[in-house]
Every structure is written in C-alpha cells, then in structure tokens.
C-alpha cells in the first residue's frame, strides 16, 4: 500500500474557495481606497477646486464655489470633544467600578445594562438628542441662546452612546492585570483606591488609552446623531449652542438629495469620505501601535 500522502482534488478546491472568502476582505479595502481615491481625484481636478484651499479655507459653500473643508472638520471636532468629555471620564469610572469594586451579583446586573445601551441604534440616539436633550439644554441655558440644532446636544448624546464602548474596553484592560499586583499593594497597606489609581490603572494604561482612541474614532465617524440633531448648514464656529454640519452629516445630506452625479458638489462627498476614512484609519493604527508598544506582558 502506498502510504504517501495522496493529493485530493476536493481538498484543494475547498481550500481555494475558503482563501477567496478571506481575500474578499482585501477586495473591500481595495475597493474603498480605489473608489474614494478615483472620485476624489476627479473632484480635485475640476477647475474650481484646489487642494490647498480645500484643506485650509473655512468656508464651505459649494453653490458659490467655496470648498474649504475646515468648517466641517471643526464641527466634527467639536462634537467629538463634547462626546469625549462625557465618554472618557464616565467610561473609565464605570470600568473601574465594575472591575475593582463591584460584587459579582452587581456586575451581573450592571454589565448587561451597559451592553443594552451599546446596542441602541444610532438613529434612536439622534431622536433622543432632538426630542429630549435639546429642549433640556434650552430650558437650562435659555431658548434664545440655544438653537434647535446645535452641536452640544449631539455631542452629549454621542458621549452617552460611546460610554459603554470605552467602559468595556477599559474593563478588559483592567481585568488583564494579574491579581498578584493588587495583592502586593494590599499587602503593603494600600487602600483599594490607592491600589487602583497607583498600581492597576498604570499597569493597564496601554489598553485604556487604546479604548480612548477607539472611542474618538467612533465619535468622528458617527453620522445619524449629528445628521438629526446638529444642523444641516456648514458653519465655522466655536459656539456649541449653534448648529453646524459635520463631515458625516454633510455626506448624508448630499447623497440623500437630488444632485446630479458628476458635479463638483456631488464629488465632494467622496473627497470628504476619503478624509474621514484616513482619519479613522490613522486613529485605529495609532491605538493598535500604542497597545503593541506599551503593553505589559505578565507571566
């Protein structure tokens, strides 16, 4: 009997098919880069648009030929800032509570609730921002100061939505710190707070920072909350009570409208989409790099 390994055609075919499945993901990335790149090139090659103006000017009025993207970027940054103001401290606090202080019974109740919050669709959060948060802000700060569409309410609700993500990633990082470190600190007479703040959190810092950066990346790419609650006119302002359209809100508005396919107005959504893709890709790379470089490995 020939005991050499026989080549089976069926196995090779199946392996090839499975490899193609895996490679489809590469096709997706190539597709994103190719399409965004091609249409952006079309956009930048049209005579009324210049790359320098695009990146440095602050007026975005395609109807009169003004293509300065900074107003959209500024309002994206503002909503992200308010979102992070809520999501980062509260997310880290919740993670610390769940990982260090909560009894298993409390954790069994609180964790699923946080996961439910994470599962709420973003359009529902947008509805919440428009119908609850904006009237609340108007009641607090005065209806004449706060417009109906404003970046503050969108940012705050976005923060609440991202909180569970930051919390669960930070909690994973905190749980990965071995128990022996905590026990050693207790043995030296530290209180639980001192252990957490001076031993556990620094040990898990890379994972926590990664969670923060992923949270920021999520806030930058968020569309529906800002499309519903932040307004539909680009405006370069630092006043959070005014409405200002973000990059994602602009893409949603233009593609939902009736513009013809090959005008510079329409192609601008590809340029902005490319900018958005590069920003989030950069943030994701940064977070993974930080984790790899600064992660403490314990035996």
């Amino acid at each position: 009997m020939n005991l050499r390994k026989r080549r089976r055609l069926g196995e090779s075919i199946i392996q090839g098919f499975l490899f193609v499945c895996g490679a489809i993901s590469i096709l997706t990335t190539l597709g994103i880069v190719y399409e965004l790149g091609k249409e952006s090139l079309l956009f930048f090659s049209s005579p009324e648009v210049s790359l320098l103006d695009f990146l440095t000017k602050t007026t975005w009025q395609p109807a009169i030929g003004q293509f300065g993207v900074l107003s959209l970027v500024n309002s994206t940054l503002m909503t992200t800032f308010f979102a992070m103001l809520i999501a980062l401290p509260l997310g880290l606090g919740a993670a610390i509570y769940l990982s260090e202080y909560a009894t298993p019974r409390t954790r069994a109740v609180l964790k699923p609730t946080l996961e439910i919050l994470a599962g709420v669709p973003t359009v529902v959060c947008g509805y919440f921002a428009l119908t609850f948060m904006t009237p609340l802000l108007r009641a607090i700060f005065g209806a004449q100061n706060v417009q109906i569409y404003n970046t503050l309410s969108a940012g705050l609700v976005m923060g609440i939505m991202i909180l569970p993500l930051v919390s669960s990633m930070s909690e994973d990082a905190l749980n990965a710190v071995p128990r022996s470190l905590r026990e050693a600190a207790f043995g030296l007479g530290a209180t639980r707070l001192e252990t957490t703040v001076r031993v556990v959190v620094p040990a898990a810092l890379s994972g926590i920072i990664a969670a923060f950066i992923i949270g920021i990346s999520r806030a930058v790419g968020e569309t529906m909350i800002v499309a519903v609650a932040a307004g539909s006119g680009p405006r370069f302002t630092f006043n959070p009570f005014l409405g200002a359209e973000t990059m994602t809100g602009y893409i949603a508005r233009i593609s939902g409208g009736d513009l013809a396919y090959d005008t510079p107005d329409y192609n601008s959504i590809f340029a902005i989409g490319l900018l958005l893709f590069l920003i989030t890709l950069g943030l994701n790379f940064l977070s993974r790099y930080l984790v790899r470089k600064y992660r403490e490995v314990y035996e």
Partner: protein
Amino acid sequence: MNSELFSDQSARSEKLAARHRTGKGWQRMFFASTLIAIVALTVLLLSILNQTAGLVASENKVDPAALSAQPLEELSSSQLITILQDNLTKLRLRAMEREKSLAERSQADLYDQVIERVVQPQIVASYHLLPSVTNRQAILDEVSRQYPEAHVKFKFWLNADFLTSSMSSNAELAGVRTALFGSLYMILITILFAFPIGVGAAIYLEEYASNTSRINRFIQTNIDNLAGVPSIVYGILGLAIFVRALGNITSGAIFGLENDNGRTLLSAGLTMALLILPILIINAQEAIRAVPGSLRQAAYGLGATRWQTIWHHVLPYSLSGILTGTILAVSRAIGETAPLIIVGASTFITQDPTGPFSRFTALPIQIYNWTTRPQDQFRNIAAAAIIVLLIALLSLNAAAILLRNRFSRRST
C-alpha cells in the same frame, strides 16, 4: 521599644481614616459613573414611550354627522358608495375605479376610503403621555380655546393599523408595513451573502492559514481595520460599486427588467453584507478558536483529512458561537441607517417590495425621515416606529442568548 513603634499611632490612624474616607468618596463617584449610563438608558426609553401615546386633537374637514344620520361604520356598502360619489370629484372617482372597482370593495375598505378622502381628519395638536395623564383638564381647556372645531381622543400611536398600513404623508394614517418588509428582505439578502463568506473566511484564517505567511497576517490586520471603518464609508463604497459600477446587475437591467438605476434592495443588502462581514469574521474566528485542539488531533489520528475534520468536528462544536456572532452582527445591520441613506433608500414608497430589484425603504430610514419633519405628530409615529425597531432587536438578542445557552449545554 513598644512605645516607639506606637508613639504616633493616633496621627497614623487619623491619616488612615482620611485615606479610607477619600477611598469611599471615589468609590461613590465610580459607582455614579455607572449609574449615569443606566439613568441615561432609562430616560431614553421613557422619553420614547412618553411620545408613543397621548391625547390628540383632530379636526374633520367634513363632519361625519353631516354625511349621514347613522354612524358611518354601520352604513352598508351601497350607502358608502353613494357618499363617495356625492363628495369626490369625477377624476378621483375614476382613479379609484381603475385601482379597484367600487362595487368589488369590501365595506371596511369603503369605510376607510370615506374617512380618508371625505371626512379628512387632520391632527392639529398632539400631546405626550405624561401631560395627557396628569394634566388632562388643562389640555382639554387649551384645545377648546385654540381649536374649537376639534375633538380630543386618547390615541396609542403604536397600534395594529400602524403595523399594517403603508406610508402616507398624513401622520394619522402612516404606517410601517413597507418599511418592515424592506428591512426584512434586506436582512435576508445580507445574511445570504455575509454568512457563507464570513464563516468561510474565518475557517480559512483559523484552520488553513499559517501565521508566518505575510499574506495571511495582512488579511488578518485588514479585517481588524475594516471593523473600525465608519459605516458611512461603507455606504459610499456601496454607492460607488453596487449602485453605479455594477448598476446593470443590481438594477436587474441585465435580466431585462425596467429599472433606471441600481438603488435597489440588492445593492442595500450587499452593502450591509460588506459592513457586517468583519464583525462576523472576528466573532466566528473566536468561536472556532475555542474548539479544543484535542478534538482535531483525535480526528487526524483516525485518518481524517483537514476538511473532514472541520466539517464533521470543528464546525458543529463551534456552531453556537458562530450563530451568536451572526445574530449580533445582524442586529447591528438592522439598526444602521447611514449606509442606507447613501445607497438610496427611498423615503416615500407605498408599494411593498416585490423582489431584490425593487425600490425599498427600511425601518431606520423611516425613523430618520419622520424625526426630521417639523410637525409634532411625526415625532409620535417616529417614537412608535422606534419601539417596533427596539422590540425586533430585543427579540434577536434574546434569541442569541437562548441559542448560546442551549448549545453550550449540549457540548459539555
């Protein structure tokens, strides 16, 4: 010597008490952070429920009492047809006849038509649940002051009519039927494409690919990156590739159907499939990784080929994890709106989708559309639609948890 060690014990114990106090204070802050999230979730759900029911003031264009002495529901079909013929224009009557002959319509259908086209109720004011229950008299007074012709009734915006009617520009009559069907068909297409490809890719990455090969590590990094790309970029990708470049296929023109663009269910389903593919792959990978190596080694030891091991041993063992991951990915896809806006979901179609090449709308799109309308009563039906969406998500997640519990019991 004892006295030296314990000489400043009071100072030390004071400091210790202060440290414990600080610790307790911060513990309460950390607990408050968790609580804020839960409070936010509760407030969100309550505020949605608050807008789902309440008092409504509506005015009729034509008073039903003027049409007939008896209540309209009790009239016979022929009497209703007489009312229609007396009150509608010839043009409208002919259009109705063309759609379906008046004589063939049921009494319920004719009653609906009389209400919609002759009586024409218009909502002039709507109120939330909490004020409707606690402040009822004040609302009634205000309505009788501002809208003397209107009558007030308590309305549940989420009712059977809401689920079975199609779109309308009148908030009172609008329903989510077309949106529900659109979402359902889209999810079916999404699962049809994403499940085989996702599970196949996961099997390849876990079983066949060696970690040292560059292309395999590149595929893995690539999938991790794709999981973090915002959903709107997937929408742009879907627009560029499925709607425009492959417009011939997705609009059905290649099969001879009359369609002018690719903004169809098929494009939307494929775009969503691309969106959830990375999550599905990552979850399936974790499920396959959890299969113990001893199972595989035992199969190899008996002479099985790699595919036989996978098909007969690894996959059945990891099936519950894969299915849970799929259901989680699908529940994400149901709630996504941004890619659908870009790929071209309509916001106003009244016909149910008939196949993969039809125009469509979806539940999140309707919620978005109704939320952004200026009139108040559209917020109410947006709230009702949100409840429908949340119930769908809740049942999906409950199914996932049940599946996980049932299958994991079996394998141990």
